[in-house]
């Protein structure tokens, strides 16, 4: 049983040879034309941004740059790797997680933690303190003998 993929059908090399009866000396796919136009516009924009004025030579150089760039890009795309896939792979390459060489954290240190032996207590006013002392005294003096429990000998 011969099995094969259908890929051949989808590998139609759609080229534009030029206007009717005026065949260009090169053959470029439609994709290349599309990429070329975009690149040309981008190059022109960059030229303007760099302050190069519009003229014959600047446009001619832009054209040359466009051709070089377009060839560079179209060499990297094919039926197997359409433009969108190549672009998305490029983005993925840029956004992939990197190895973290810089350390974060390090040895844990408690040096900067303030340690005090006592927890702060709410402060008592003088009246309250006096009452508390009095209470303590009375409770100590009025110790009742409990049945079954030996009372410690008084000093």
């Amino acid at each position: 049983m011969r099995v094969r993929t259908d890929d051949e059908v989808y590998r139609v090399d759609a080229v534009w040879l030029g206007p009717p009866k005026a065949t260009f000396p090169w053959r470029a796919r439609y994709v290349a034309w599309g990429v070329g136009i975009v690149v040309f516009l981008v190059v022109l924009t960059i030229e303007r941004q760099m302050g190069i004025g519009f003229g014959f030579f600047s446009t001619a150089w832009a054209l040359v740059a466009t051709i070089i760039l377009t060839r560079f890009i179209t060499q990297r795309i094919s039926h197997e790797r359409p433009l969108t896939a190549v672009m998305s792979m490029w983005v993925r390459e840029l956004t992939a997680p990197r190895e973290r060489t810089a350390s974060s954290g390090g040895a844990a240190s408690a040096a900067r933690i303030r340690v005090s032996p006592q927890r702060p207590r709410p402060k008592l006013s003088k009246k309250q303190r006096a009452r508390q002392q009095a209470q303590r005294r009375t409770s100590a003096s009025r110790k009742k003998e409990v049945r079954g429990v030996r009372t410690p000998a008084r000093p």
Binding site: M1, R2, D6, D13, T23, T84, A85, R92, E93, R98
Partner: protein, 954 residues
Amino acid sequence: MFGRRRDRDRRSAQHIAQHAAADPRERDRAAYSKRGRRLPGEQAVPSYTPSIAARSIDGHLLRTGQEVYAWYRLAPQRWSFRSDSQRQDLIAAIAGQYAELQGRWMHLRVTTRPYPIRMWAEAHVHNAVKRLPDTPGTLSFDDYMIGEQQQLMGRSMAEKEVYLGVQVQTRNMMDRAVERAAPVLRKVFPDAVDAELVALDSEVEHLDQVIGSAGLEGRPATAEEMSWLMHRSCSLGLPAPRNLPAVPGAAWEPEDLASFTDAADFHQEPYSPTVTVRGRTGSNAGIKRHVAVLTVGLMHGLQIPEVDDPWVQRADRLPASVEWSARIYVRKPEEVSGELSRQMSKVRSQVRHYTDEHELEPPQSLARQAGRVLEIDDEMTSGFTALGTRVRSWWRLAVSGPTEREALRLAQSLLELYKPKIAIEHPEAQYAIAREFIPGEPLSNGAYLRRGSVLWAASAVPTATAEVGDRRGILLGETVTATRRPVAWDPWMAQELRDASGLTAMVAGLGAGKSFLGGGMVYKTLRAGAHWTLLDPSGPLSALCDLPELRPYARPINLLNAQPGILNPYRVVAEPMIEHFLDEDDPERAWRREKALAAATRRRLVLDVLTGLLPFEVARLPQTRIVLLRAVRTVGGRFDAHPGLVFEALRRDASEHHEHAVVVADFLDEMRERMSLLIPEEDHDPYNEVRDDRLTVLTMAGLNLPKDGVGREHWTDAESLGVEMLNLAAWLTQRSIYEKPKDQRKGVWIDEAFFLSEVPTGRVLMNRFARDSRKWNVRVLLSSQIPADFLKIQGFVALLDSVFVGRLDDDQAQADALRLLKVPIAAGYEQVVASLGRRPGGERTATERDRAPRQFIFGDGAGGVERIRIDFSGPHLEHLRNALDTTPDAKRGNANGNGELVPTDEHAAAQPPAYVPDEIDDELAADMELGLTEDEAHLVGHGDGTNRHHGGAA
């Protein structure tokens, strides 16, 4: 105090969750700043979002934010040694299943599970009942088991597991909202939480049915399998974890998925050829692997069952494990036909552009493409089967190595492996493509799209494996076809579990490794508690008895030097004991029937042996048969008779053939001294002593046997005596079965078993073996150099359980061997038999011995047939290898001498009950069964049929 502790708990919970969270520091700060106000605690625990797309796993359903996938584990399929039509049927069945899944995405994952050597060892030890006690100072059973495990550990042998995820449904906003609100909703309205999956029930059931039918034979993945798959995918390329995190009893919540994602992290440099996977937890902590992810590029036409392997299975040839991940979308026909017409118009307009507008010749490819479009359109519209359904698919492979160099080397060898018909590409964006392996992740990009029919996708057959043997028996070696898998085989599993016979045929030419395989098998099963009796006419196997750990339990017997009477035909057939019939409905009757059968067998055997010993001219005379038969009948079938009694009976013959009877008696008396082994001396019966040995090796070194392929009519006297003695020795071997308890695992190996087809009682013996091997738990190993010897025995193939076929050079022998294996003949497998274990290239001038492990085709009787390599190469088995080395070597010191019969008086044999004449119908029935009726014409015809001939001097 309690307040502080609660705070600490909260922080540790955060630490657990923070691994995969987007920015843990920010959340930390938020948690601390709100500390005062959030005393009740639970709200402050940050919610966890897994770093993978999967959100929860319920049973075999895996939910991501957008879709629900049902995952199945696919059954392995046998591929090798099947006929092409069977293979085509398998592919068509799988294609049909794919076609049923129109409009769905599938995710095919092939992963590996390392051979669970620990589990094998556990099963093997549990299975080794009543094993050989260790002899001090020799290889103990524990050391032997350790050696076996180390031998496997040294090799990377993995078992392939194939999983298929099928998209069940896409999820809508509502489903996601309900899932998000699940913790609260569960308290208020519990049914709403499960509503999504409940609604899918019928859909899932339909998918279960489609995937579960013949072809893929998938069954819903269990929780443990899901966990394994997730783990292997999230730590792609890392060694298998030694212990997996426990599988929860309930569904996996998003938080639980952290146990997978935390196990490893991926990172890569821009445009680096591999992605680095770093293990973080468990046994893989700190281990780094470089994973090269490849993808399947353009593909030529393949002749799948006939010439090429299934193309996914091909990767199994790589010595390292290869992970596969394929995304397949089964397209709807209307979508495809629209696309096809678009392509067609594209082609047409191009042609017009070339010819009309520019007057140029259009490229040839356009015409070809137009033709192919029409072909595909035709495939899709013709016929009633859906095999023309089209798929779009992306196939990725991953190999890993400890260094980048190693990973790239493996990737390169994978490329070479698939050359020239399939291009394997090495794309950029390695990290993104590596993530595609994780169930639930979306496709990272559309590059390297493969389109084709479902038939093409099915012809990948990722489930094709090379499975043979079982998982608890002794280790024989490994498979050497497409996959490398260790082969274990328990010779008693067929009888104990499958209710099959215990007959095994071993066929191989000279020097193809028969005795090595058999000897290894005997040694290993002996260690595991079996009892063996070997009949080895040439004698080298007695070396097994000299192995130090076996010596106390083994006894070599050279039958030619043994006491007279050891091959007494009346004694080699065991007397049935009534204890063995207690489980029958009517023990008494069954026992009587069996006794009658034993008596008839004895008479048949004596008749057969004596006829065989007579010169051909005498034997073929009708009156010879008549007088012999009458004499044998007179003597009867008692176990304490001997052939000497038959001679006397012949002399006493009072019928009209009296003279002839005396002549026959004279002829036999003439040979009397040569058949001393058949006739016991007075008062000295060797069967009075019984020894309980685990290994008995019967040798007959020096026996004169006919050469292969020499017809019976040309045998010399000595040769025919040799064959008869061998036959009797085989019966003696068989007798040993009945002396041991029924349930005990016993083995019988008869080497040079060709004579079974040469003597009429051979078939009787075979029948006994086939019948009793299951009942008495015996593995009967018969080896020969010529498969036709076995095929000549009527009905033998049907009785056969397992088969080992080694190298055979003769064309006819190869075809016969395939017939034994029940493998299609004339399908090209003869070549395989011829090339088993042969080193490639001319070795005519080599002076080194070919020590490469021998190969066999092993049919395990349970449906598996594979080419295996015998491997007893562990250092712990070195003494065994030396003992079994039967290749002559003049430089070796001294050869092993044959052992002598050393009878020891342990305990006297329990005398079987005296022979009582049975009811006449039992006896008659037994006679009929063995073809021992008074029908002389039949017997004479039989004698003529065997065509004996007195050929040459004795």
